[in-house]
């Protein structure tokens, strides 16, 4: 008869947040769809930034007013609004991939207090997003400015607000990822969560745009994506945008509320 030959294991095996972080890091590294989401975010930021810069360089602003309102930083960072779906999807997939096949039960039986898993996933989403998209945003900015310099439309990184907009782009994408994670943990289904992300990031601002007159800006600037995007603008327009850090702060608040709801849902009740 075959015998098992499995040695005994007697070392202490307490769960703590640092160990759950390490576990989620291993999962992130070994989940191909996470790498694809991050690669997509990077590609969208760099490719769209360069393409749109080339387009604007070919059709430069005409007239003093147009030149004054031309925002070369926004042009080179135009890929951010597309990349937010990629990082949002990263957040969604990191949690819904575990609910899709019952893996979440294995995970939560190993971490029965449950919430360390959510916090560790949040850290992975935010950390990985900043690490990948900050260099991408910098590359998009530098390449875009180099394209725009043909018509002397470019601005240097040292200009007031410019470095903040580049850094803010990566922070905005990281918080978008957290929103995706929270919605994924709430809905436990990739399809539903990704649809909700599109609604939140794209449909809601469009609907707000249909509102009459000043209502559009007054309400629109408090929407999650509009609020968060303020930090990516060098000169946010007070009529339609919050100030950069207030906007990012509000976006973080939305993400925190969603994560709090996700935590309540995960901690109580059944882990299916």
């Amino acid at each position: 008869m075959m015998t098992m030959s499995l040695p005994r294991y007697t070392e202490r095996q307490r769960v703590n947040q640092a160990r759950v972080l390490r576990s989620e890091w291993i999962k992130l590294r070994t989940q191909p769809s996470a790498a694809w989401s991050l690669a997509a975010a990077m590609l969208l930021i760099i490719a769209f930034g360069i393409l749109y810069s080339i387009l604007r360089e070919a059709r430069p602003p005409q007239g003093a007013a147009a030149i004054r309102s031309f925002d070369p930083v926004a042009v080179s960072l135009s890929g951010i609004q597309l990349a937010q779906i990629a990082t949002g999807v990263l957040g969604v997939l990191l949690v819904t991939s575990e609910y899709a096949n019952g893996l979440i039960r294995t995970t939560l039986s190993a971490v029965p207090r449950r919430l360390p898993v959510l916090w560790a996933k949040a850290a992975m989403v935010a950390g990985a997003t900043v690490v990948v998209t900050l260099p991408a945003a910098l590359v998009a900015f530098l390449a875009g400015q180099s394209v725009l310099s043909g018509h002397h439309l470019d601005v240097p990184l040292g200009h007031p607000g410019v470095a903040r907009a580049v850094l803010g782009s990566a922070l905005y994408l990281a918080v978008s990822g957290l929103v995706g994670l929270a919605i994924g943990a709430l809905l436990r289904s990739a399809a539903g969560a990704i649809s909700s992300l599109f609604g939140l990031f794209f449909a809601l601002p469009i609907v707000a745009g249909f509102l009459p007159g000043s209502w559009s800006g007054d309400i629109g600037k408090y929407l999650p994506s509009n609020a968060g995007l303020a930090v990516t603008l060098v000169h946010p327009d007070p009529a339609s945008s919050l100030s950069p850090w207030a906007g990012l702060g509000l976006f973080c608040l939305y993400a925190a509320i969603l994560l709090g709801l996700a935590a309540l849902r995960m901690r109580g009740g059944d882990a299916k």
């Binding site: 769960v15 759950v20 291993i26 294995t106």
Partner: protein, 306 residues
Amino acid sequence: MIEIQALTKRYGTTTAVEDLTFTVQPGTVTGFLGPNGAGKSTTMRMILGLDEPTSGSVLVNGHAPRTHNAPLQEVGAMLDPRAVLPSRSAFNHLLALAATSGIRRSRVDEVIDAVGLRAVAGRRAGTFSLGMAQRLGIAAALLGDPATVVLDEPVNGLDVEGIRWIRALLHELAGQGKTVFVSSHLMSEIAQTATHLIVIGRGRLIADTSVAGFIASAAPPVVRVLSSDQPALAGLLRAPDVSVTPADDGALLVSGLSAGQVGAAAAAAGITVLELATEQTSLEDAFVDLTKDAVEYRAATHEEEK
């Protein structure tokens, strides 16, 4: 040790588990038997702290499951062998699980070797056959050398070699003093593996007994006899507490007498016995008898109700 006390679980208006009370002792393999839909998996999820009981309590090694500080050391489980990320390798699946409790990488190698997955450890778990997936699930359950092992249908879909391997493994684990709790919907399977039995049907406890006791309490054996004069022998044997029924092939099926008594009666009457055998009621029949009122779905009944 698993102590379950007045455990009830409802999902909306459906009652999955109702007022279950039993204890699973360490050092032995306990089978958890019931028809499909009886509430076995629900009970196991509550043992792991995954589902919240509606009422009642579960203690694993003396503690509520959600309060374990070293969960992988307390209870190792396989609920669903397909609960893996299909694109992640078996090794990385185990490595991530081990990391939650700071279990060394070398331990991951040990369990992979022990379940015989060394050659495929780097392969995507989604490409595994059911047998390989079962082994991976068992490897995960054994990572922390847990005091209690809970396996849901571990031999489901395994080949003969795999079934033998699991039986040997379960006995070895029980021999180490672990509490081993294994579910199945097949009596024959569990009878060869477990020494104690918990039987449930429709979420309720039907039996809490040793396997030997369960077999003894099952329907009594039947004696099959073929002789030179069947009608005469039948008339001879009939008595108030003996039943004699003819089988399709002309043999007589006698219950209430032993084979020896039937043979002696035939000899005394000068009837030549051509064939005489004791037929044990199959375990499967005994199980069906015991749970027939508790099977949730039965095609015939269902049709009648319509």
